[in-house]
């Protein structure tokens, strides 16, 4: 049977290569064939719906949405519906702000304006290269001119451009250039000169202090023309991009932005970052560590996605659609035991912890608390719980991390109990839900016959609906995306 399947896979792969241009599915089918791997089965409709809703909108589907989808499981239509929803832009903006800015306000800038600006950019489907050019060249007061938040956040008051250089290289090029800050990179081609020449593109930035917590980012022709002396190198350094390209004008940041977004590595890093968002693992992983020592797990696929990014002119929504409509994205995550090779080659869907926002928003949705609490109170609670969940990561740079990696069980328990007890008169619990509805709301699926019996028995013995909901919301099945 296994041999026959391989033969079929080989035939399909060959046929695909002969007849059609490469796709994500055809490239991975060929990869699996070469590695003698069988892909996991297709995810069930319930499994797919939960995954795609979490990945595209950051929240589990409502029980009504699950019921409707299970009745008419049109996956492509669901993807298009989610991509068009405002929550999609909100969620992407939230995740990318965390990656670009982090959680805590700092350096006289605030996270919120950047997040709102990104939300609009994603809602308008602004091409990614345009977004990055705006971020790299932003001027003005960050609280009014949101793109200036990015440079303001990392460009220090002492006029040192090194921090912003590190962030740009990691976030937009997927390169850990910081390793070359103190010495030539031990494993890669980057030298200390490369690092400081890259940083020198920001030497013209002027960070004006207007008042307490108010700064203004501007470009100063005088600063751009001034020498950038690097103590470690004992010499003045001129701006030079990693490709060897040199600026020809005093508009240093404009030229840098151009060098960055027209470079193939930019498209590569973008494609890899998107892939990571939907698979929990980059083709190059970690996503900010493109290096000779850390090659892509499926180089041909990375090349394909890079070409697609360029061909689609960095159309974020189109790229996402290409990924989530692939058969690979829709594989099941149910496996008997972990197999690192299968995970590396994406022969199955990876089980990954939810991001803090996904956890909190999903609990709110499962308990139907949004309507019950009112938007203002809900937003306040949401912010408090997220801060609580990420308390150990508040200060961290999250360029390469999306999902929540620490144990959250204690927090989860506290949070769900607090919320459900506080709200027993309202929301989902007030509706005296059946076991089936509890499963649909909490786990986005119907209970198995065994689960149904166990729960019914528990309730007949006098167990409470509230405890049952809290138990499900604290299960691994709820706190992971699979």
């Amino acid at each position: 049977m296994r041999a026959a399947t391989f033969a079929l896979l080989a035939a399909l792969t060959a046929a695909a290569q002969d007849a059609k241009p490469a796709t994500i599915d055809s490239i991975l089918a060929e990869t699996w064939y070469e590695a003698k791997l069988l892909p996991q089965a297709r995810a069930s409709d319930a499994e797919f719906l939960r995954r795609v809703t979490l990945d595209l909108t950051g929240v589990v589907p409502t029980e009504q949405e699950v019921a409707a989808f299970l009745k008419k499981p049109d996956r492509t239509a669901k993807i298009d519906e989610l991509l068009a929803s405002p929550r999609h832009a909100e969620f992407l903006a939230n995740a990318w702000t965390t990656s670009l800015y982090g959680y805590l306000n700092g350096n006289d800038t605030a996270r919120a304006p950047l997040e709102f600006w990104l939300r609009k950019a994603f809602a308008d489907n602004t091409p990614y290269d345009k977004v990055v050019r705006d971020l790299l060249t932003g001027t003005g007061r960050p609280q009014q001119s949101a793109p200036a938040t990015f440079v303001g956040r990392y460009y220090m008051e002492n006029g040192k451009p090194e921090e912003i250089a590190v962030k740009v290289s990691r976030a937009f090029l997927g390169i850990r250039l910081n390793c070359a800050r103190c010495h030539d990179h031990p494993f890669d081609k980057w030298t200390q000169d490369d690092f400081y020449q890259f940083a020198a593109f920001f030497k013209g930035v002027e960070r004006k202090y207007i008042a307490q917590n108010v700064i203004e980012i501007a470009d100063s022709p005088e600063r751009a023309a001034a020498r950038y002396y690097v103590q470690d190198l004992k010499k003045a350094v001129k701006p030079k991009f990693l490709s060897g390209a040199e600026p020809q004008t005093a508009a240093l940041r404009d030229e840098l932005a151009l060098f960055v977004v027209t470079n193939r590595q930019f498209a590569r890093a973008f494609a890899n970052r998107l892939w990571y968002h939907f698979f929990g693992r980059g083709l190059v992983h970690p996503i900010d560590n493109f290096s000779k020592k850390n090659p892509a797990s499926v180089p041909r696929l990375l090349d394909f996605l890079t070409d697609e990014a360029v061909r689609l002119k960095f159309d974020v929504r189109a790229m996402i659609r290409t990924i989530v409509t692939s058969k690979v994205y829709q594989l099941s995550s149910s496996v008997a035991k972990a197999d690192p090779l299968r995970e590396k080659l994406f022969a199955q869907s990876l089980v990954r912890p939810l991001a803090p926002e996904q956890v909190v928003d999903s609990i709110f949705r499962a308990l139907d608390l949004e309507a019950a609490m009112g938007r203002t109170e809900m937003l306040k609670s949401r912010e408090r719980f997220i801060q609580f969940l990420v308390r150990n990561q508040l200060q961290e740079d999250l360029t390469s991390v999306f999902e929540y990696r620490e144990s959250i069980q204690d927090v989860m328990t506290k949070m769900t109990i607090d919320l459900s007890r506080a709200r027993t008169g309202k929301g989902f619990l007030a509706s005296q839900p059946s076991v089936e509805r509890i499963y649909l709301a909490a786990l986005s699926r119907r209970p198995s016959a065994r689960e149904r019996k166990t729960c019914d028995d528990y309730l007949k013995r006098g167990g409470s609906v509230e405890e049952l909901v809290v138990t499900l919301l604290n299960s691994h099945e709820f706190t992971f995306n699979h």
Binding site: A245, A251, N263, F290
Partner: protein
């Protein structure tokens, strides 16, 4: 003006460059080349570099002209005050009168304090000596105490504007509008503010009905007087249960309402809170009126007129970490300042140990700066000498006039900002005529095209693939 410019700052220049490039004439060879260059991504940095130079020149010219422009705006050629500037002149003279009264009061308080300041150790003596001078007195007034009493409207207005910039942004006409980028967050926030304002209005109405019934005698009389002040309703509204408490706070006696006896002990605290609130509201009134006039949205304009919102602003706005207008007058402001610097030892005031180094440096620095607070401005004198109105002339030549005018002129100079879009317009006006390159500008445009070409060549170095060695 500054707001209009700020609005343009937000506008993106790249689409404007494209728009301009498309207007260049097809039958002019150089203009065609320029058009193709500017429509390409590599042409834009080359043009932006030239725009930056134009902006820097324009800024310098405009800043140099701030003083003559000010006098031209407010006075005619014969030195007469323009009719439209009468309110402005009134503001200046009112400020002068307040300053004169303040200094008189401060001098008396300072003299009393000097007698208490110890002559040892040396840093104490130096501070005492400096405070005893007229320069020291003025420096203390202008840099510290004026802020504490809320007299420093220039800094206050700037601080309030910065605070409000979190929710409003200038539109293309310079009017302030709610920020679109955070609209949904603002909707929630404004709903909360509206609720508070409504609540405050309800309380105002309740107070209006209550006041005539209150007795004028004793504690009730004191409270009645306080409840009639602006800000009383706002203070009550800040505590959610106070309006309910209001109706339950009085009992009837001889046909009038009197404060219940058990509440008398809380009266002083309530009176102090109302007094502080009405003072704070008065402090921010001027700046809020001026900023409110710039609001396009009627809802925001109305909010800025509300005592409730003004109190919130006054509580929120801080300058150098200090709450503006926290002191009632010079005596209180001096007392607050004195307590932050000195401690009492054997009946004498000595500088606190933790501040000794700061005070030493501060006195040295203050002595250097003192010159600014002793002489009238030489820059203003030639203009002031030509004025017809003797009172105004005296203002511009006074010490207060020098400080106030520095604030006004600095604000004007700071407001001179040119956006890239304006820079582009200036560049076009200088180098392009009806879609063709001006004869005298050919070299500039050719240099721009050559630079853009060099950038294009640099872009050919396209892949930095970290996987390659």
């Amino acid at each position: 003006m500054s707001l209009l410019l700020a609005a343009v700052l937000l506008a993106q220049v790249d689409p404007k460059i494209d728009e301009f490039a498309r207007t260049l004439k097809a039958d002019d060879e150089l203009a065609t080349k320029l058009r193709d260059t500017l429509l390409a991504a590599w042409g834009k940095p080359a043009l932006k570099e030239q725009i930056a130079t134009i902006i820097a020149d324009a800024k310098k010219t405009a800043r140099d002209g701030v003083v003559p422009a000010y006098f031209k705006e407010h006075f005619d050629d014969a030195g007469g005050l323009r009719d439209a500037s009468k309110p402005h002149a009134g503001d200046l003279l009112r400020g002068l009168a307040i300053y004169e009264a303040d200094i008189k009061e401060l001098r008396a308080v300072r003299d009393a304090a000097l007698a208490k300041i110890a002559d040892e150790p040396e840093h104490n003596a130096k501070l005492k000596k400096f405070l005893a001078t007229d320069e020291g007195l003025h420096l203390l007034y202008f840099t510290q105490l004026r802020l504490l009493t809320g007299r420093d409207e220039a800094r206050l207005e700037k601080a309030i504007m910065l605070l409000l910039e979190q929710i409003v942004a200038p539109d293309m006409e310079g009017r302030l509008v709610l920020r679109e980028d955070i609209k949904d967050k603002l909707d929630v926030y404004l709903e909360q503010i509206d609720e508070k304002v409504e609540r405050s209005k309800d309380i105002e109405a309740a107070l209006a009905a209550l006041l005539p019934k209150l007795s004028d005698e004793g504690d009730t009389g004191r409270l009645k007087k306080a409840l009639g002040k602006p800000g009383a309703a706002a203070v009550i509204a800040q505590k959610s249960d106070r309006d309910r408490a209001l109706s339950e706070s009085f009992s009837e006696a001889d046909g009038r309402l009197v404060l219940r006896e058990e509440l008398a002990e809380k009266l002083d605290a309530v009176l102090a809170a109302i007094d502080e609130a009405s003072r704070k509201i008065a402090n921010v009134k001027g700046p809020c009126d001026r900023i409110g006039a710039r609001m396009k949205d009627e809802r925001l304009r109305a909010l800025l007129k509300s005592d409730m919102v003004r109190l919130e602003i006054a509580n929120e706005v801080k300058i150098e970490g200090k709450t503006v207008g926290s002191a009632a007058g010079m005596a209180e402001a001096f007392d607050t300042w004195q307590k932050t610097i000195f401690t009492e030892s054997d009946g004498k005031l000595v500088v606190q140990d933790s501040l000794i180094d700061k005070v030493r440096d501060g006195v040295r620095k203050a002595q250097r700066e003192a010159a600014n607070y002793t002489a009238p401005s030489a820059t203003l004198k030639p203009y002031a000498d030509k004025l017809v109105d003797g009172t105004l002339k005296a203002f511009y030549l006074s010490l207060y006039g020098r400080v106030r005018m520095t604030e006004i002129l600095t604000a004007k100079a700071d407001a001179i900002t040119f956006s890239e879009t304006q820079g582009l317009e200036m560049w076009i006006a200088k180098h392009i005529d009806h879609g063709a390159v001006r004869e005298g500008s050919r070299a500039t445009v050719e240099a721009l095209i050559a630079k853009a070409e060099k950038i294009r060549k640099e872009l050919e170095k396209n892949d930095i693939n970290p996987g390659d060695k």
